[in-house]
């Protein structure tokens, strides 16, 4: 049990996918302008990663490993994740409109998100068992969400702040992201 908690804390804070591993930076900048969008995006990433983690782990166990095809893992995962997300989006739009309204519009953006892909590959590289994989597939996107929501809160303030002309918008956002990353480095000593 302790191992799982350690794994979760490590995934959320110490190895934060955004601020320490620098994966998934496009939605980090793109969807952090408004708190509402950031929250939706965070939830969508948790949802997709949990699904993608399970499917890719099973794919690895059933096809790639037995057939000795580990060398095409990356390209297979891309196709699998992309089709999965597209399918889930289509399905949700018709069958669960309420959930679609909440997450649906964020799904296309993370079909081939590097954070999603990265976590799936980490799961395999670290040779997690099914349960460990599940914890990692939820904890990493939770860390993603945490960083994204914190960042959105900061950016909402920046918009009305006194920012010099050349630094406005994306520039100041990148500077801010750098500072946030520095502060997250402080978690390194925890584990």
């Amino acid at each position: 049990m302790g191992d799982y908690i350690l794994l979760a804390v490590g995934a959320i804070l110490v190895n934060n996918i955004l601020l320490i591993q620098y994966l998934g930076n496009c939605p980090f900048l793109g969807t952090s302008k408004k708190m509402e969008t950031a929250t939706g995006m965070a939830m969508a990433v948790v949802f997709v990663l949990a699904l993608a983690g399970i499917i890719t782990w099973i794919f690895e166990a059933v096809f790639l490993k037995p057939l000795g095809l580990e060398y095409i893992r990356t390209i297979v995962f891309i196709v699998v994740i992309a089709s999965l997300v597209q399918f889930v989006e289509t399905f949700m739009k018709k069958s669960i409109p309420a959930l679609y309204a909440g997450l649906g519009i964020f799904l296309p953006l993370i079909t081939t998100n590097c954070a999603v892909m990265g976590v799936c590959l980490i799961n395999i590289k670290e040779e997690y068992n099914f349960l460990e994989m599940l914890v990692s597939a939820i904890a990493y996107p939770a860390g993603f969400g945490l960083a994204l929501i914190l960042f959105a809160g900061v950016r909402e303030r920046i918009i009305i702040g006194r920012v010099p002309g050349p630094l406005q918008d994306v520039s100041i956002a990148l500077v801010t992201a750098g500072f946030m990353s520095l502060s997250f480095l402080g978690f390194k000593g925890m584990i």
Binding site: I72, I75, T90, P108, L109, I160
Partner: protein, 696 residues
């Protein structure tokens, strides 16, 4: 290698088939404009707009959650294309335009000195901004920065000014404004809007029963934009020539300038700019919304019916007016005499309304020539009963309907309107103190009566007639016998009127209307000799048709002749039948009938389109007669900093002149341009609390 190839091909095939099938099974209809808008965007899926990809951004634009300039990469060109895609949908006749509703700017006082970022949204975070007025413009121009089309700038007075030529109605400014001052609306939306307590309304505008934007049109007059002033009035009142002549202008009673010197002569300015438009033959274009396919019948072509017809037509409905008399205009054609409102002038107003494409059928009477069943059978989706109040009320004097020479005011004035005036003798008495009584008095003078008396039960101070009318009567030599109650007619052997006996009154306790009740004094009988006596103490609606059992119209509920309705929506007990004006009782002012006509058109439009008909809870309800119900804090006790300058006089025909006493030539005249400009410059362009202190 082969396994890898086979696995990839298999995976591709399965995924492709699965997605293909899924897209069929789980197909959901989407607005085709979303795809069109998406084509105008950059297609980079960069997320720079704050939405998750271009598709999401396009959807948000179509649904109005993002403005057309949301895509930063596509820039102004892309925004123009998006606006074109969305603009086509709205229809060329219904352009969206932005308008600023606050005229405060620099003149508006501040609660504190704000030193922060020059942005309205930032300023708003601190106690909703520094302006004293809760709903006033902060003036930092967030809307100007938001506008991609250079259509907005902060004007010289410190509030934003919209360039209507450049505005595409994208809505960016509306979203940027933290106070809701910038409003992007279609002409139809503006017609359907009713005064709300959250609006920015000057006291005059709150008081006007027709809700005309008075400060705006006076501002146009000041800038010599007389056609724009006329169009501003036409947004609320389609009969400005007529109202400009006969309106008792309750707005002027609320004018803030009156606290310094005299109220602005608002009605003379309305008359001036409307006359200018006709005299100069100025082209005015009144926008009409695309056809909705609904047909509305208006029963009764009086002011309320004509107004409702005008606004319903502008909202895109087909309209037909049914009128029982040969001419349209109702009480203002048949009731108001020529010297006050020439028929030719009235018909200019009416023709402008009919020019929008309104059908008219005259000489047909409801309940005789047609009824509700035939209207419904004729394909009408809604009916407005604006049949007016053409019956007279009883004065409760014995034999008033038998004695020869006694005539109700409605008959007297209608005969005059039909061109066959009632022949009056040398001495004429009229009972009543309203404007109808004044019309009868002044008409009698012109019909050759040598002595005309006005009998009224209270004093001149309590008369409901306009003060200017009472003064005009005095100028024309009419004698007022106040505090009297006629008790009986004296007649000769053939039943002809020879005189009237009345009791003198004294004023007692105030009654329900707040006026002191007249009490007759016993034994004070007085007789005056008369040849004719006119009853002008009120009118009722002839709604006898509603009593006929077994007809659709019998479902209407009536009370003392008036047809009962919901006072907000104007809907009657029959859902598709509405009523407005005098027939919805009690009879009132022309401008009130015009206001009611627009609100009835609103009710009918909402009913036809299946929208919520009720007024918003924030509806402003002002009683313009008692001057009550204004937005709190907008009626002042005193004002400062105004240089005293009296109002312009009303030009009129020389009292005692031949034209004045013996012809029907119009008595009140239009002011000159010079005078009008002088008066327009007296207007302080008030809003809720601030006003131009240095009004010239």
């Amino acid at each position: 290698m082969l396994e890898a190839l086979l696995l990839m091909m298999g995976l591709g095939g399965v995924a492709g088939t699965l997605l293909g099938v899924a897209s069929r099974i789980f197909y959901v209809w989407e607005d085709p404009r979303i795809a069109e808008v998406e084509n105008c965007l950059a297609g980079a899926n960069c997320g720079g707009c704050g939405f998750t990809g271009c598709a999401a951004c396009a959807k948000a634009i179509v649904e109005g959650r993002a403005d057309v300039g949301a895509c930063l990469v596509a820039g102004a060109d892309g925004a123009a294309k998006v606006a074109a895609v969305l603009g086509l949908e709205a229809g060329a006749a219904e352009p969206l335009t932005s308008q600023n509703t606050c005229t405060g700017g620099f003149r508006a006082p501040e609660k504190f000195s704000y030193m922060g970022v020059n942005d309205c949204r930032a300023a708003y975070l601190l106690y909703a901004g520094a302006k004293d007025c809760d709903v006033g413009c902060l003036g930092f121009g967030s809307c100007v920065k938001a506008c991609l089309f250079d259509a907005l700038k902060i004007g010289p007075d410190g509030y934003p000014v919209v360039d209507a030529e450049k505005c595409v109605g994208c809505g960016a400014c509306e979203k940027a404004c933290p106070k809701g001052i910038m409003q992007v609306r279609k002409p139809s939306d503006r017609i359907l809007h009713v005064n709300l307590v959250t609006d920015r309304l000057a006291p005059c505008r709150q008081t006007c029963p027709a809700e005309i934007n008075i400060p705006k049109y006076i501002h146009h007059i000041r800038n010599k934009e007389y056609d724009k002033a006329y169009l501003t009035i036409m947004e609320r009142n389609p009969m400005p020539l007529s109202t400009g002549r006969v309106c008792p202008h309750p707005c002027e009673d609320a004018c803030r300038r009156a606290l310094a010197d005299d109220p602005v002569s608002i009605n003379q300015l309305k008359r001036f700019c409307s006359d200018w438009v006709y005299d100069e033959g100025a082209q005015v274009k009144i926008p009409v919304a695309p056809d909705t396919g609904y047909k509305v019948a208006i029963v009764g072509g009086g002011p309320s019916g004509l107004t409702a017809a005008y606004f319903l037509r502008r909202l895109g409905h087909k309209v037909k007016i049914f009128e029982w008399l040969p001419k349209l205009g109702g009480m203002i054609y048949y009731g108001i005499p020529e010297y006050r409102l020439p028929k030719e002038i009235l018909y200019k107003d009416i023709n402008r309304i009919l020019d929008l494409g309104i059908e008219v059928k005259t000489d047909v009477k409801f309940g005789v020539d047609f009824d509700l069943e035939s209207l419904v059978g004729g394909g009408f989706d809604a009916v407005l009963m604006s049949i007016g109040a053409m019956n007279h009320a009883s004065a409760r004097i014995p034999d008033e309907d038998k004695v020869k020479g006694v005539v109700p005011a409605t008959d007297f004035l209608r005969k005059q309107g039909l061109g066959d005036p009632y022949r009056v003798g040398k001495k004429v008495g009229i009972i009543g103190g309203g404007n109808v009584a004044m019309d009868c008095l002044r008409s009698s003078v012109r019909l050759g009566a040598e002595k005309v008396y006005c009998l009224y039960r209270r004093t001149i101070k309590e008369m409901p007639a306009n003060v200017v009318e009472i003064e005009a009567c005095e100028h024309e030599g009419i004698e007022f016998i106040t505090l009297c109650t006629p008790t009986k007619f004296t007649t000769d052997d053939e039943g002809n009127l020879t005189g009237i006996e009345y009791l003198k009154n004294e004023l007692g306790e105030p009654d329900a209307s707040g006026r002191r009740k007249p009490v007759p004094i016993e034994g004070s009988e007085t007789v005056i000799p008369l040849d004719n006596f006119i009853l002008a103490i009120g009118q009722t609606t002839d709604s006898a048709f509603a009593d006929k059992e077994g007809t659709a119209v019998s479902r209407l509920e009536t009370k003392r002749g008036s047809i009962l309705n919901d006072p907000d929506t104007h809907q009657t007990a029959i859902p598709y039948v509405f009523t407005s004006g005098d027939s919805a009782g009690p009879p009132g002012l022309l401008v009130a009938a015009i206001g009611a006509g627009r609100r009835a058109a609103r009710g009918i439009h909402k009913y036809l389109m299946g929208e919520d008909m009720a007024f918003p809870p924030a509806r402003l309800r002002v009683d313009s007669r008692r001057m009550k119900g204004h937005i709190p804090g907008t009626i002042f006790d005193s004002i400062e900093g105004i240089k005293k300058k009296g109002r312009i006089a009303q030009p009129e025909l020389e009292p005692g002149s031949y034209e004045r006493q013996h012809t029907y030539a119009e008595v009140d005249l239009t002011v000159t341009e010079e005078e009008a400009l002088k008066e327009a410059n007296r207007c302080m362009r008030c809003c809720l609390t601030c006003y131009n202190k240095d009004a010239r």
